[in-house]
Symmetry: C2
Amino acid sequence: MTMVRNTRQRQAVVLALRETPTHPDAAWIHTQVRRALPNISLGTVYRTLDALVRDGVVMTIERAGQATRYDYKHAGLGHHHVVCRGCGAIYDIDAEDVQMPATGLPEGFQVQDVRLEYHGVCEDCAAGEKRG
Amino acid sequence: MTMVRNTRQRQAVVLALRETPTHPDAAWIHTQVRRALPNISLGTVYRTLDALVRDGVVMTIERAGQATRYDYKHAGLGHHHVVCRGCGAIYDIDAEDVQMPATGLPEGFQVQDVRLEYHGVCEDCAAGEKRG
DNA sequence: GTTCTTGCAAATGTTTTGCAGCCCG
DNA sequence: CGGGCTGCAAAACATTTGCAAGAAC
């Protein structure tokens, strides 16, 4: 029987995620958590984040070639993301309306996470593109 | 003024994407395209795919630490994705019902791509987890 | 005490980039 | 012809992993 241990490292990572309103990546979390645990390694941060994702406590926003961003999942409140292709900024959208678990799922597929993402360019980046 | 050139490499990449019903990664596309253009480099494949994504012809499905998958966008037909966390398999879901361009977008944000993804585990992987 | 976790560092794998020469338009 | 494109190979990064020592329970 697997047993998840409540280590100081795990507590610190959860705390850091809860306390930021942003959607940080693993390196940012590492820097942050080091203030309390100076020796914590980046590897541990990754392992902890993976565990939190598996537990469904944290969700990810992933972009090719760029660090994965982590988002502490506020229970019950469905919220989705707006991602700027230019600067990588991520905004939240509150969406009380949940989207239907579409018919047409493969036989026996168990959905753990529904992601709705709007990708595009933010106002500043759009201006930059015109200029540059 | 930027000028997009219609090179043989670009044609071959588009062709490869159009002809497969799967959602391949850059390496697979590279292998495929080499049959017609033996000297094409992986770098060129990446550069071409980036251009196609910018043009809105191709969309991506991204997963941390794993190769980005590319999906030729069938015009007009809104289709979304089911992603298995276990084996990485990607399935399509046809969705005639488009999802609302949510209110609450940041001021001036220009949406280029709406992604709806169902992440979870497929039947086989779920069985494997129980066993292993 | 047992077993899961950590730190460290090296390895892995993907994606990007510099540059000289090539080709499209 | 000129400027974008390409091939090549070498980075640059993000993420994973092996292992011995440490910490939970």
